[in-house]
Amino acid sequence: MSDRPLILAGLTLFVGLVTTPIWHGALDRKTALTAPPIKLPAQEKQCVAPTSYMRSSHMRLLEDWRNEAVRDGQRQFVAFNGKTYDKNPTRTCVTACHTDRKEFCGRCHDYAGVSDPDCWNCHNDSHQASRSAP
């Protein structure tokens, strides 16, 4: 019976440690739920698909573009509003609209804990092109 205080203290410590994520999140202001500070394109108002779709499925769209363009040779994308786009991550996505990829894709990916996609190891973004120009 003399072990009771010891056991109780151990239990409290254990429960406290196990629930760290919960109360740490509640106490820390920085991890409060706010939208990531992404920078939207200045001139364009409409993406190649509705915003809600892009938010949830842009990776699917990019992959579909890739497979269709490279494997089936279908390089034109007809958007929901009837506009036609090249299925080209450089010209259509990055040089025309999201000129600062780090401030748009990067900030949200950082926020969501998504590792930077490897597309830009090969596909040129505007910075790469201007850096290498003479």
């Binding site: 890739r66 490279v70 040779g73 450089t90 010209r91 090969c122 040129n124 505007s126 092109a129």
Partner: protein, 254 residues
């Protein structure tokens, strides 16, 4: 229930008749469907390289430069890291069997322009474990760089040495990046793509377009009146290692 022998025979006979009837109906249906769609036309891009015209200007490498700047091909000083899309090799190495002791005197060291042969039956396609390289409907053998895992089986299978491996990041070795064509990364195999991205826009291959002597003629080998077929009809042309049965689409007018 009891079935007599007579009933059994009658029933099986009826069953067989019904089966035969179904087969007949399906065969008729298929025939009428097939005749309504025209046979698919085959396209096979190919090239004829006139070596005499190619030699006209000594040391000319316009086509090589045009290809390399179009496709962001890196230039490494170390030959072990060389990335080859289109390059030159002495005649005696390219056509070892197509010369005699006397012709070697003249021909042996003359440069021959080399590139991927875009074979009719490409061995690289057969060995690729991930389907990253394949022959398109238009005869061009391409690589899906997204799928390539860098195993280099295709390099071993290619009898023409047309494929190169990226041992290091190619970007620092590209003098000026063409933003319209993606570079590659370390760990993928690459080669000439017959300017497949230009063909899609209705343009011809960059090497052929850049040649002032018009030494490179490209076109559809399946179309009897295409320019390349006319050239091949009027001049004697050879392929590299035709005995292997790969069916190269690049012809050399010697």
């Amino acid at each position: 229930m009891k079935i007599t022998r007579k009933d059994f025979l009658r029933l099986s006979g009826l069953g067989l008749l019904a089966l035969a009837g179904k087969k007949a109906v399906r065969a008729v249906g298929e025939r009428s469907f097939a005749s309504s769609s025209p046979p698919k036309k085959r396209v096979r891009w190919g090239m004829a390289i006139d070596l005499q015209k190619c030699r006209q200007k000594d040391g000319c490498d316009r086509c090589i430069k045009a290809c390399h700047s179009t496709h962001n091909v890196p230039q490494f000083a170390d030959r072990a890291h060389e990335i080859k899309w289109i390059w030159k090799e002495p005649f005696k190495n390219v056509f070892p069997a197509a010369q005699t002791g006397y012709t070697r005197e003249f021909f042996g060291d003359l440069p021959v322009l080399l590139l991927c042969n875009h074979c009719d039956d490409p061995p690289c396609q057969d060995v690729c474990p991930v389907d990253a390289t394949w022959k398109r409907d238009n005869g061009v053998v391409t690589i899906d760089f997204h799928r390539c895992i860098g195993c280099r089986y295709c390099m071993a299978a290619c009898p023409y040495g047309a494929r190169s491996f990226n041992w290091q990041d190619p970007r620092p070795a590209i003098a000026m990046v063409n933003p319209d064509f993606p570079t590659r990364t370390r760990g993928v195999v690459e080669k000439c793509n017959f300017c497949e991205e230009r063909l899609a826009r209705g343009q011809g291959p960059a090497c052929a377009e850049s040649c002032e002597e018009k030494a490179i003629v490209s076109g559809d080998l399946e179309k009897p009146d295409s320019e390349v077929r006319q050239v091949l009809r009027s001049r004697f042309a050879v392929q590299r290692k035709p005995e292997l049965g790969t069916g190269p689409s690049v012809y050399y007018i010697v």
